[in-house]
Symmetry: C2
């Protein structure tokens, strides 16, 4: 892993609104989020965007460019953030020498595929309430994975971003957050959220959590 370290470039910090790359950009590197958060999105012909993913510390962003050497999404910082840039061709070369690295990278891509398929199920069969709940539980465990609180965290994205990601409107997202708060299972004030009853939230999603 020390060898991986040699090819990683620690880039300058990014600030809210900075693009990491844009749709159709030439693909050169993947990025590991060190701090802060990003969203990826696509623009349709009428100029409106759809959010395709959120990326938190410890997660990998940019895999959408591997297939055809050009990014399918744009990626933008949601707040102050820093990243590690990993040039893809160097990663490939090094993977030929380090079986563990190759194996890990296959796993990372496999995990992305599995995650996307779960989102597919979520979008094709869950109600609005289940989508929001599942989304919040997902954020919770992703924050927990990097040692942050699983019950109290900040939403780095807007209600609109959440809506685009989950296939809902801003209004629906807002209304449901209020409704869940009235149920007492969570408390939300602006971007700050506290999950007060994880078990109840899991029950809303159904036995099969995301």
């Amino acid at each position: 892993m020390a060898q991986l370290d040699t090819i990683v470039e620690r880039n300058r910090p990014l600030t809210k609104g900075d693009h990491l790359y844009r749709q159709h950009d030439n693909f050169k590197s993947i990025f590991a989020v060190r701090s802060g958060s990003f969203k990826s999105y696509v623009l349709n012909s009428s100029g409106e965007g759809r959010v395709t993913g959120f990326y938190l510390p410890g997660e990998i962003i940019g895999l959408d460019g591997i297939a055809d050497h050009s990014h399918a999404n744009s990626a933008i910082a949601l707040e102050h953030a820093s990243i590690c840039e990993i040039p893809f061709n160097q990663l490939e070369s090094l993977s030929l020498q380090l079986p563990v690295l190759q194996h890990n990278f296959f796993s990372i891509m496999g995990a992305e595929i599995t995650k996307d398929q779960k989102v597919h199920t979520l979008l094709s069969s869950y109600s609005a309430e289940q989508r929001i709940t599942s989304f919040l539980l997902g954020l919770s465990s992703r924050y927990a994975r990097v040692g942050l609180s699983a019950t109290r965290f900040n939403l780095p994205m807007t209600r609109g971003d959440i809506g685009e990601y989950l296939g809902l409107t801003v209004e629906t997202v807002s209304r449901l957050l209020t409704a869940l708060q009235k149920k007492g299972v969570l408390a939300v004030a602006n971007r700050e959220i506290e999950l007060k009853d994880i078990e109840a939230l899991k029950q809303i999603v159904g036995a099969d959590a995301l």
Copy 2:
């Protein structure tokens, strides 16, 4: 590529309803579809399934098991089918020796990720009519890729399967196929379909085709 050939196992043919693997099965191999077609699906706790993908000749199935060495989906043959089985650990070993193979496999996984993200956009922002249309155009170009007709082909899956995949009910799928037929852009009889006006279909989906 001749070396890849040495690790591929050409399995016995499968018939409609045969499982290639089941959810939670230990992951051992990925499969290339040689003929016929498959669907992958997950069962939720209440026993109902959601289709997560369709696999046609020339496509790779089983990538959902790479991440945690266990399949996230079940895969079942929709008709008589044959496959090539590629043991994954052998593929990994060989990839260490053949840079081209490693590169190609990264590309294949990257393509799967890009495809899944397009489905995400489809499910989160398209109307029922756009979903069906986009789905049919997708099938069309996938059949064309292996030398079959892009305008006339058989639907190997049921209306129910299509509905589960697209997040619609059987009734909606059926109604929309009838409606599209009345518009004159396609003709459908049972499983046989003819796309009569590809341009019109693309227009329904919008400028950004899937």
